[in-house]
Amino acid sequence: MGKYPRWPIHLALLAASFVMLVPFYWVLKTSISGENIFAYPPSIIPRDPNPFYYVDVWYAIPFARFFLNSVVVSVITIVANVVLNAMAGYSLTQRFLGKSAVLMLFLSCMMIPFQTTIIPAYLITGKLGLLDSYLGLALPMFSTIICIFVFKASFDAIPRSLIDAARIDGLSDWNIIWKVMMPLAKSAMATNVILSFIWSWNNFMWPLIATRSADMQTLPLGLARFLSYQEDSTGALYAFCIMVLAPGILLFLLAQREFVQGLTSGAAKG
């Protein structure tokens, strides 16, 4: 590595970071200045920055209620994902008849878009009496195949001898998962938390279908409602976007190290 200078790599990374961060900066800048996004020449530094578009958003819709709904649904989704995906991931590390078929089934099911399963999901949720409830809003996202494979990859990287030793000591499979595997798979857990949070937080289609009362709506639905009668206010719209995005970005920044580790664990097994 010492043979080649590192600055070209850093330069390329800086350029890539700039390209990716500019849209975020533009949204943030417009949210505090309300400037016309089509103005030419565009101003890089916000003129007369103020927080009042955020105040407008707060009072234009029941933001606190929508935020609470999104938080509750996301927490339910995260807990369900960590528990169910860990169990599923652990089972896929075991040897059993038809394991390859199950893996193939899982992989092929990843290609089915959620939109095609909405009607059965709606009917099942309705039969369970969970429509227009927090549990019903979280139900279709209780387990995701990608996150199962994240756990599987992480569990695969744990030496088999450790599981055998735990089994000889008399631990059940349940205890092996929670007392042996999970403490060694914190990165996979962080990845599960972040991915399930982001998917749940940003989900629009399912809450649109599964909610009936305005009190049960989540933030993406609130954004759609807000757009319907505040379409002339660019600053307020962008402020709303920042308020919706902020929790996800904060969570990612908090757990980014674990997140990246979780995505790459198992990639260099052995």
């Binding site: 927080p51 105040v55 407008d56």
Partner: protein, 134 residues
Amino acid sequence: MNDEDISRPKWKRWLLNRFVLVPAALVLITVGWNLWVVTHDHGIVEGRVVDAAGAPVEGAEVRLWVFNFATFVVKASTTTRPDGSFEFADNPSHNIQVSAEKPGTGRSARVPIRLYFASEDFVLKDPLRLTDGS
């Protein structure tokens, strides 16, 4: 986790990490902000009205305009005291305007006022100046 982390007491490892400290800081900020709001949301809007020469105007009608969906509507009105001061005590909004008028003296422009929260107590720094009274 390095050796130094492991040697720390368990409670420190649980409490003194970014997953606890950042949410705790956010909770503290939220509680502090709400305390500030609760103690400053009486809906009081105060100010003064002066004439073109800068002298206080008594008996001028001051109107409080409140943003209502798409436009501003008059929410309340009051008259100024002998020293030209006025006060509204029931502003419900965060986006308001105030204007003053007195026949024979003139009228002021509508002054927009943006507040950080609804019903925030506010004192107008510059007086409302009545002009063009003819």
